[in-house]
C-alpha cells in the first residue's frame, strides 16, 4: 500500500481511536508505547515500504520485506494495522486478550506476525538472521526491526548491533522508538541511554535522527540507505502521543481506560 503522507496521518489517527476503544473493551492495555510507535508502523505499512499482502503472505519467505515489532508489548499498534490490511477480521480486536487469536504479545500464529516477541532484546538478533537469510538467498528484500528505547538496556541488543555492522547488513533497518520513558520514569534518570546516536555510530551503524511522529521525516529516513552499513533510525517520540493527559506520563505505559477516559481521549484523537 502506497498512501500519501496526509493519508497515512489520517490512518494513524484512526488507529489511535481503534486502540483506545480496544483497550477500553479490554479494561487495560499498553496504550503509551502503542501511541509512541503507531506513526512509525503506519509509515512502514502504508508508505509503500512493506509489501504486506494477506493474500500473498508466506511465513519465512526471505524474498519479502519483513518487520518485527521487537517491543512486543505495543502489539496492539501492529494489530490494528494488520486488521486494516485484511490479515484478520475486525471482531478479533473486540476479543483481544479474551479468548481470540490476539494476545498482549504477538506470535506467528497471528496472521501477519513474522516472529514471536514480548521478551525484550531478541528482535534485533532475529532480524540479523532474517537479513542474512535474504542475502544468502540472493534477494534485495529489507528487514525492519522496531525497538523500544528501554529495550536498549538489554545487552543482547548491542551484541546484535555489533554483528549487524560487522556483516554489513545494508538490508537491515532498526528503528528505536525513543520515547524516553520506562515503566518507572525517565530513561535518563533510571540508567542514562544517551548519547544514543553516538552509541549506534560507535557500533558501526548509519544513524538517522527523526521526529517519530512526522510521517514525512520517517518516510525520508526509511528510504535512506547506506552502501556499507545497516541503518538505525532514532525516532524521537512521545509516549501516549495524541492524548494530552497521557503524553509523557509513565503511568500510561500500561493503563486502564474506562468510558469517561475513553470519551475524553477520543475527543483529542479525533481533533488531532
Amino acid at each position: 500500500m502506497n498512501l500519501t503522507i496526509d493519508e497515512i496521518e489520517k490512518k494513524a489517527s484512526a488507529h489511535r481511536e481503534t486502540i483506545l476503544k480496544t483497550i477500553n473493551n479490554m479494561g487495560k492495555g499498553h496504550v503509551g508505547g502503542a501511541f509512541s510507535c503507531i506513526d512509525i508502523l503506519s509509515s512502514l505499512y502504508y508508505g509503500g515500504l512493506l509489501d504486506a499482502d494477506p493474500n500473498n503472505f508466506v511465513l519465512g519467505d526471505s524474498s519479502r520485506d519483513r518487520m518485527i515489532l521487537s517491543k512486543g508489548h505495543a502489539s496492539i499498534a501492529h494489530y490494528v494495522i494488520l486488521q486494516e490490511l485484511g490479515f484478520f477480521d475486525e471482531h478479533e480486536l473486540s476479543r483481544m486478550n479474551n479468548g481470540g487469536i490476539l494476545g498482549e504479545h504477538p506470535d506467528p500464529s497471528i496472521p501477519g506476525i513474522e516472529f514471536v516477541s514480548g521478551s525484550l532484546g531478541h528482535g534485533l538478533g532475529v532480524g540479523i538472521g532474517f537479513a542474512l537469510a535474504s542475502r544468502i538467498d540472493g534477494y534485495d528484500s529489507s528487514t525492519y526491526i522496531v525497538l523500544g528505547d528501554g529495550e536498549c538496556y538489554e545487552g543482547s541488543i548491542w551484541e546484535a548491533a555489533m554483528l549487524g555492522a560487522h556483516l554489513r547488513l545494508t538490508n537491515l533497518v532498526a528503528v528505536v522508538d525513543r520515547n524516553r520513558l520506562c515503566i518507572h520514569g525517565d530513561t535518563e534518570a533510571i540508567n542514562a541511554l544517551e548519547p544514543m546516536s553516538d552509541k549506534w555510530k560507535a557500533f558501526g551503524w548509519n544513524v538517522l535522527e527523526v521526529n517519530g511522529h512526522d510521517i514525512e521525516e520517517l518516510m525520508l529516513a526509511f528510504k535512506t540507505r547506506h552502501s556499507l552499513k545497516p541503518t538505525v533510525i532514532i525516532a524521537g517520540t512521545t509516549k501516549g502521543k495524541g492524548v494530552s493527559f497521557m503524553e509523557g506520563k509513565p503511568c500510561w505505559h500500561h493503563g486502564g481506560i474506562d468510558d469517561e477516559i475513553l470519551n475524553k481521549a477520543l475527543g483529542e484523537v479525533k481533533n488531532d
Binding site: 511465513l59 519465512g60 526471505s62 506470535d107 506467528p108 513474522e114 516472529f115 514471536v116 514480548g118 521478551s119 531478541h122 534485533l124 538478533g125 532475529v126 532480524g127 540479523i128 538472521g129 532474517f130 537479513a131 542474512l132 537469510a133 535474504s134 544468502i136 538467498d137 545487552g155 543482547s156 551484541e159 546484535a160 555489533m162 554483528l163
Partner: protein
Amino acid sequence: MTNAVDMRDAFFDRLYEYVARDGNVIVLTADHGAFGLKKIEEDYPAQYLNTGICEQNMVSVAGGLAASGKKVYIYAINNFVSLRTLEHVNVDVCSMNLDVNIIGVGAGFTYATDGPTHQGLQDMAAMSNLPNISVYNATDATQTKGLVDISFHQQGPKYFRIEKGVLPRVYTSTDDLAVGYKTVLENPSNFVVLSTGYMTNVCYKVLNAFDENVRPSLVDIFRIRPLNVEKIVDLCKEKNVVTVEENLHSGGLGEKILAALKLGNHKFACTTIAVEDGFYFQFGTRDQLHEKVKLGPSNIFSKIENFIQENLHEEKN
C-alpha cells in the same frame, strides 16, 4: 576398544558432508573451534559464521535464519550455549519450534581443570526442561556420527551434548538410534544399570568386574528428551534399577527415570548415582574429580554392589 576420533571431529566431519550437500545448512560458532569445523569454514565459508563470543545473540540469529528456511547448527561450550542462553533458546528457538541444532561441548567434567564455570553438570537438566526440544547426550564417536544424521533428517530444536577428546567405543554402528537408548551389556540378572554419556564408558568397565550371576545389564540412555518412557519401563520390568550420570542430581537422568518408573508402576528397587548438587571448585584430571565427587569406578562399583546386596532377595522371588 577405542575410536581414535575426537568426538567433536566425529560431529563436524559428518556435518561437513551435509554442509557440502545442502546449501541451506548454516553453521554458527561463538568463537569455539574444532578441526572438523575448521574444514567447514575453509571449504564452505558462505555457510559458516563466527558470531564472536555472544552466545545469546548467536541463538537469536539462528532463530531468524531457521525461521527463513535454513537448517542451523550453533556451537559453543555446554554452559554458555545452554545456561547462559536459556531464555533465548526458549523464546527464539523452542517457542517457535525451529530447526536449530545446538551443540554444546564439555559434558560433565570434560573441562576438568576449568572449575564450575566450565563443568557441564546442569545443562542437560536445563535444556530438557524446554518444550519442543530433543536432548541428546553423546556416548562415543560412532554414535555421534549417527546423531548428526538425526540432526539433519529430523526437524525441530535439538540439543547435542558432546565431549572433547577421544572416548572408548561403545557403539559399533549407527543402527537403531531412533529409539533413544541402546543395550550395551545384556546379562540375565534382574539388575539393570541405566547410564548416559561418558558414564556409560565407565559403567561398561565397572560392570565387567561383577560376578556373572549378579552382573547387571547396561543400557545407554542417549536421548534424554523425549525419554522413551514406554520402552525404558518395559526393559526395567522386574528388574532393580541403578542410574548413573555425570550431572547434578537435580533434574538429571535419575530423577527422570524415577518419575518414568513410578508412572509405569514399577515394583522393584531403584537408586540413582549422580553428582551431589553443588559447585565444585576442584581442579585436576577428570578421574581425580570423579573420585572427589564419589563418581569414580570404585565408588560406582561399591554403590552398585551394595544395591545388589540389599536387593538380592528380589532376584529370589
